[in-house]
Symmetry: C2
Subunit: 231 residues, 2 copies
């Protein structure tokens, strides 16, 4: 223990992030405002710089937290389902991500929206960023073990095949190239749908977006895990 000072510092750091999150939720992800945070803390803006070297630094911390939160949500949803029921696992994880995104739209957009200008994600973010993806890859791995075959089998070109091989070695998971491609497509489709809904692209088009997303998830599950759990 380095004494009181360290604990106060940790608390204040957490408080700054909490206020930043709340303000972002109210004013939009790009309106992160150091002076407003300082004002709310009864501090002067320059004092914030004792805790975060710059606005980007605070942003990075928030992004890492958000990635971890999403990752945890995905892991928890996956763990709550029978490991052999890949389809149920996929649906659980997909719905968990959707629910989390709807509850924390600003955080979701912080991760998958337009990158904040001039901001380059530092190395610290890539590990938390992969947590959710690893959950999906785990499901894909189990599906491959069960002999799953995507509903539509594309021919994977060699360049992509090389990437997939490296990805399999890196994570120790995954099925053949076709299943892998279908899985990644489902991954992007999932986040594409969430992004569309959050950004209001369906406004005045679809009323019940929640039901729509549920159907999308079902569709994706059926497209990827075709021969598994047929009815």
């Amino acid at each position: 223990m380095t004494g009181v000072r360290a604990r106060v510092r940790a608390e204040l750091t957490a408080e700054i992030k909490a206020i930043a999150r709340r303000q972002m939720a109210e004013e939009g992800p790009a309106n992160l405002n150091l002076r407003a945070i300082a004002r709310e803390l009864g501090m002067v803006s320059s004092a914030i710089y004792r805790y975060f070297a710059s606005r980007d630094d605070l942003l990075t911390a928030l992004i890492v937290d958000a990635y971890n939160a999403l990752g945890e949500v995905g892991e928890a949803a996956d763990a709550a389902v029978d490991p052999h029921e890949v389809r149920a696992r996929f649906l659980a994880v997909a719905n968990a991500a959707y629910r989390w995104a709807c509850e924390q739209p600003s955080q979701y957009l912080l991760l998958f929206g337009t990158p904040v200008p001039g901001y380059a994600a530092p190395q610290d973010t890539i590990a938390p960023a992969t947590r959710f993806t690893i959950v999906l890859l785990g499901i894909l791995d189990e599906a491959a073990r069960q002999g799953a075959v995507p509903a539509v089998r594309p021919t994977v070109p060699p360049t992509v095949s090389v990437d997939f091989r490296r990805l399999r070695e890196l994570t120790g998971t995954g099925g053949d190239d076709e299943l892998m491609l279908a899985g990644m497509q489902a991954w992007t489709a999932l986040f594409g749908a969430i992004g569309f809904i959050l950004n209001g692209q369906f406004r005045n088009v679809i009323g019940d977006v929640d039901a729509m997303f549920a159907e999308f998830a079902q569709l994706l599950a059926g497209q990827v895990f075709h021969e598994v759990d047929p009815a």
Copy 2:
């Protein structure tokens, strides 16, 4: 003709937008800077306000232009293919959108990235915004006429079914609910994939993102237009 003044005004308006586009491409979509535009024009910042009432107003004009550009690209790609070959039409439109997005990433992100904070899309934007979607719906309509059936047929819940009925009446296109759902899912998946690629979510994961996208498009085409053009 209302004289020289009107023409100069139109030219300057266009020039402001052109500079804004270029600067956004260089500095990121959220860094639209009125003073920098004015500087480049050799004007003073307040003069810009003679042409656009506010920063949001300029943003709206740029968004409308971008929607129209994307819509035109989609329409042109669709028109260049035999109207009966729905699969080829879908691939052409999908690839056209991808190519346009890669060439104009800032414009694409202006449309489908995080909404600029505090910015609410006014009524003027919704008509141009639907242009690209209408192209896709047209393909879906032709597919329905040919008896296309999606690879995986979900059960569409009544609330979504109502939305689809209204959408069909509004646009005069579309097949049955199942095909409609598959089409909308393909739509979101398409833009989800483009967004992932543009935002660099595949960095250090997939090297040849172009090949990856081409496969995604093939996969989507196969998922939606299953019984059409079997080989």
